[in-house]
């Protein structure tokens, strides 16, 4: 299966064996120590990248992910947002001033958008940038507590510049959000500049090594030339020049969300690797009286927890690759000015970002639970995977909001179909609805002859379910509109239905993409095992949502029984390949960071070795004995 995953270069020799990148187990370090380690490694990394002459973005990505073992680090926002934003939104003159210093890390920047009181609703941001034509400067202010910039990574301690998003005021008018390059710390001393209050937002669930920060600005002045002016401009006299096209920003969002879909796949794969390997090592109870304790992976309940997640991890890999490829394919068109495919891709990736991150989030927890008590120890690596992954349900678009964006596109497509137009792409199944309209009620309940052993037939079943739920949501929305005046109100009162419709649509897309992938696999043995996983993914999804399939008349009670039965058969079929299927993800032990998930399976010895290094074990008798226990025993 290995060939399904591309590995650009082997960074092992460069990073894993490099003594400079070694350090104590992060689980034993405090937040400050973890931050320090991360900064140390980032600094070294920059140096070594230059030393090895590595400049290709993919190679940098691999190198970085090995240095930081897939973990966040304080320069993430500098490399991932500050530099790219300069490239896309700065004028050539601004690039001359900022880009090379930033490339050489004399300037370290971050991207300050989110405020304490405002995240999702960008138009609600309160930070102001008021143009003063007398001095040709912008005056930046954080007028309220809620307007304090909050969360940007690398802002708390690391950066000396930030790209700040603020409401632009010029000639007495608000022109909406614009981006400004703001110096925040003194070069040389790293002290905050006068008018700037900056710091770390404190401990979080995860992201210990990241100095997520706050930023408050009081009448802080920056030159006019620090507004990013490739698109919108403010002229010296304060005249505002509008940008040409808004849709271009869609491209960046599609790209970032495609990365999150890939992250969902990777994080879930890591969790599955740990849980499945450990389940092969752990023995428990009796299946047959008198026999030795079986591997817990032989229990049906354990297989039922883990194998559908394994199938899901594979499904998400293919979805991530699909979005990335599609984005690459149409980004050429975008440069040419053809934006016709962008709205659908944008709508689709919003929903898929939400769908995959929600599923992976729950799946990682399921893997952890499947490891019993030891999954709860940090040595399992699973707590860390979870806390690092879970914010992706929130950042880059809160998931419920994302689902509703997809729903907006679905409703729009449905409306087009209703008015006699045809739609294309992933939503083309909606075209069929109009043809069925001649039949009385339950239009979506067209009898689908579902063959539960055939992935292609299951795609049809998912398609019918999506069509039914999109139609139901659109009709409920219309009914609310007929009752009420406000569009927003009607939308809000239908939003639960709308989210369900989006989920069904995304689920259909994933089953469809997974199924389509099968025919591309030339190796027969690999194709066979992937077909089993694809079937398991599709059938498990049905068994978890039988209500939708029964209610729409897509499946009968008997078929539901068959689906449940077939899921159980597939668990047994996949069982012999389970460990091989996670080995194929090819995570290096160092990257996996788990004692339970070690490739060699020597779990217990290494748990003991790990525990001996715990901070509480630094001395044989803990100081609390002398400080508290002994005096108490003496007094009582």
């Amino acid at each position: 299966v290995r060939f399904l995953f591309s590995s650009a270069l082997s960074p092992e020799a460069l990073v894993i064996n490099d003594p400079d990148f070694q350090h104590e187990d992060l689980n034993f370090l405090s937040r400050s120590q973890r931050y320090e380690q991360a900064i140390r490694k980032s600094s070294l990394m920059v140096m070594k990248l230059r030393e090895h002459g590595i400049a290709d973005p993919d190679e940098i990505y691999w190198f970085k992910s090995f240095v930081h073992r897939g973990r966040p680090e304080p320069l993430d926002l500098h490399l991932g947002m500050f530099l790219p934003t300069l490239l896309t939104q700065a004028t050539p003159e601004q690039q001359d001033r900022f880009f090379m210093p930033a490339w050489n890390l004399e300037i370290i920047g971050t991207y300050a958008q989110t405020e304490m009181g405002h995240g999702t609703h960008l138009r609600g941001l309160e930070t102001t940038a008021t143009y003063d034509p007398a001095t040709q400067e912008f005056i930046l202010n954080s007028p309220t507590v809620t307007s304090i910039k909050w969360w940007p990574g690398g802002l708390g301690k690391t950066s000396n510049h930030a790209i700040v998003l603020a409401q632009l005021y010029t000639q007495g008018q608000c022109k909406g959000l614009h981006a400004f390059i703001v110096p925040i710390r003194q070069l040389g001393t790293h002290e905050p500049l006068p008018g700037i209050t900056v710091g770390d937002i404190g401990p979080k669930f995860g992201y210990d090594e990241m100095d997520n920060g706050y930023l408050k600005m009081d009448n802080f002045r920056i030159p006019r030339e620090n507004m990013l002016m490739k698109y919108a401009q403010v002229e010296p006299d304060g005249t505002y020049v509008k940008p040409l096209n808004d849709k271009l920003t869609y491209g960046t969002m599609v790209f970032i969300r495609s990365i999150i879909v890939g992250d969902s796949a990777r994080s879930l794969s890591r969790a599955c690797t740990i849980a499945i390997r450990y389940s092969a090592v752990r023995h428990q109870s009796e299946l047959k009286a008198g026999e030795p304790e079986p591997q817990i992976l032989d229990y049906q309940t354990q297989q039922y927890k883990l194998f559908p997640l394994l199938a899901t991890a594979y499904a998400f890999h293919f979805v991530g690759a699909y979005i990335k490829d599609t984005y690459r394919r149409i980004s050429g068109d975008i440069i040419e000015g053809d934006l016709s495919e962008l709205p659908e891709l944008h709508a689709l990736t919003a929903g898929l970002k939400a769908f995959t991150s929600w599923t992976a989030n729950a799946g990682i927890e399921e893997c952890r639970m499947a490891c019993g008590g030891h999954g709860y120890s940090r040595c399992s690596g699973l707590p860390d995977i979870y806390v690092t992954f879970t914010p992706s349900c929130t950042y880059e678009g809160e998931n419920t909001v994302m689902m509703l964006q997809t729903a907006r596109f679905l409703v729009k497509s449905y409306t087009q179909v209703s008015s006699g137009q045809r739609v294309t792409g992933m939503v083309s199944y909606l075209n069929d609805l109009s043809r069925q309209r001649i039949q009385p009620q339950h239009v979506a309940a067209r009898p689908v002859t579902v063959r539960i052993n055939d992935p292609i037939s299951l795609v049809e079943a998912y398609k019918a379910r999506a069509a039914r739920l999109v139609e139901a949501a659109a009709k409920n929305l219309q009914a609310e509109l007929n009752h009420r005046k406000s569009k927003e109100d009607a939308w809000n009162r239908t939003s639960v239905d709308l989210v369900r419709a989006s989920e069904a649509h995304c689920h259909y897309v994933i089953v469809k993409l997974f199924t389509a992938k099968l025919s591309e696999i030339s190796n027969a043995a690999v194709r066979a095992v992937m077909t089993e996983l694809c079937l398991l993914y599709a059938l498990y999804g049905i068994s978890k949502n039988t209500g939708d399939f029964l209610q729409a008349g897509i499946l009968t009670d008997t078929q539901v029984n068959q689906v449940n039965q077939h899921v159980k058969e597939l668990l047994a079929i996949i069982r012999p390949n389970a460990v091989a299927l996670v080995d194929s993800f090819d995570f290096h032990d160092v990257h996996l960071g788990s004692v339970l998930g070690r490739y060699d399976g020597n779990v217990y010895e290494n748990m003991f070795e790990w525990a001996k290094k715990s901070p509480l074990n630094k001395t044989e008798v803990h100081e609390s004995f002398h400080k508290h226990l002994k005096p108490m025993q003496a007094k009582l």
């Binding site: 900064i39 428990q284 709860y376 939003s495 715990s614």
Partner: protein, 667 residues
Amino acid sequence: LAAPPHRSLQSDGVNPDLASERLTASFSVEKLTARLDGGAEHTRMRRAIVEAIESDPAFSRENQYFQSQNERYEAAVRRAVHLQKKMREMGWTENGPEIKYIYRWLSGDIAFLLHRVFMRSISVLGSDKQVAKWIPLATEHQIIGSYAQTELGHGTYLQGLETTAVFDIATQEFLLNTPKISAMKWWPGDMGRSATHTVVFAQLYVHGKCYGVHPFIVQIRSLQDHSPRPGVTVGDIGPKMNFEHTDNGYLMLQNVRVPRENMLSRFCEVQPDGTYVRWGSQKINYFTMTTVRISILSDEVILPLMKACTIAIRYSAVRRQSKLKPGEQEAKILDYQTQQQKLLPQLAAAYAFHFINIYLHELFDRGYQEIQGRNFDSLPELHAFSSGFKAMVTQYCTSGVEICLRACGGHGYSLLSGLPSLYTRVLASCIYEGENTVLFLQTARFLIKCFMAASAGQPIPPSVTYLSSAKPGKCPAKDKLDFLSPDVYLKAYEQMAIRSVTKLQHLIQSGAEKHEAWNQCTVQLVKAAQAHCHYITVKIFVETVEKLDNKAGIQKVMKHLCDLFALHGIFSNAGDFLYDGYLSGAQMDLVTASYLDLLAVIRMDAVPLVDAFDFTDKSLNSALGSYDGQVYQRLYEWAQKSPTNQQVSPAYGKYLKPLLQNRLSKL
């Protein structure tokens, strides 16, 4: 009963967005609080105790989120020592009515909790002579105990434990050993650093014959200098997802000798000549272990969900986002249907579980009396109850707390919200005191047995008689309002539970649990147990609401919550209700409509309903969930206290400065 100072409406500085929520309450918050406490006098006592603890700076948890594992452990030990002093000062005792409120407030953030388990196990398993010897020492903290059962390689399956205790007639001692690495004791709390003694569970060998797992009191550290005793290797198992303050430990024993009298011998004994004698019934012991599962529910499982709901719902009334109507202010996120759908079912579940917990305690009290009278008939039923409800409630509450966490967006991810710690604590409850899947299967085993007995015309316990009342039929509801009738939805739940069990017909007909057949059905068996517990929970909620006093609007608002809990369950498990056609597709649409309508109704009382839980700000310890709703100011103030802002990070001088000044090559 006057409102306590922490929730006075007059107090200045309450965020107007939260104050306005309290003006429209349809019921009396004070009266509901008293109902939850079991009477106004309990509320008064609880508040007095909370006040006494909170006014004592030694119990402050102000810096908790900034502390390292070492600091958390030390603080927990300090608090435990201080609590002894405080209890003497206040005249509180271990057996007094105050104790549950004390520990509830401390919410487990204290050392020596396993010391209490150590004492309980000696009281239950020890002979009178052993109790007389050890309990006074433990009460006076002359010794500190732990409870060492779980091993590195064995948790759920007790018979599989590998630690050995071999009787040596010559010296009248037991020789304890850890024969291999997987036999090392692993996880016991208070053992890593604090305990001097522990109860070790080991396979007893006399004259080469194995008699199974027995408990032994073993001294592991010196009473003089606290160093490990010869042959003992003991330490902390390292950082976990939570419980940083607890020194969960490992223990390895190499030829450690304990006197014959250290085997706990209420039920069996090894006599000086090596004769093994067993006496009395272990059933009482078995009952005690069963009650532990129920005893954790209130404080360790349901309370975290109540706290999480309080934090998330108050925050959702303060947080504003996007506009619902053009030209208006941005809307409270609590006004979004999707936000209501996330939070309000969790709120309803918190109330449902509060009531099921009361019911379970009453059931177990009755059971205890019967057992005292040597009547063990109810034991299988009680065991099935404790297993199934422990599994269901922990699983539901864990997912509920996580939903609350994620419903608070980015700020929920900050430790300062209090939600990550609540989540990581409650989720441990899915594993300890019996892994949930294993527990569901135990309940399923009971259900199958009862169903078989019923089919054979034998009597079955009252809680499962419904299994024999299966009548095929259709739900009579015609309108969405029909689904607000408890009779209608209860019947639907009952039918669904019966179907889940009878679906396992082939297993039942095959006679019993042929191991392979059993393993092939476990996924369905778990579902059947869940369906049963879900049904009973709805049923108890309905019965509780019927008995409530119809004054002060309490019965009405509880009825709404009960309806919501029931309909949300149907909506979320639609397939199980549609299967067999008891509910039609059209009826399912009515359920959905009714369920969504309820969200808007309960929305109006959401904040008063969490206020009624009556948590003080200090016990919530959340920047998002405080009573006054001053979320942003508090978040900003607390963040500034973070050590990362107090100290100059060494990283700047060492790494950042050379980096910024582009002198990378000198690193």
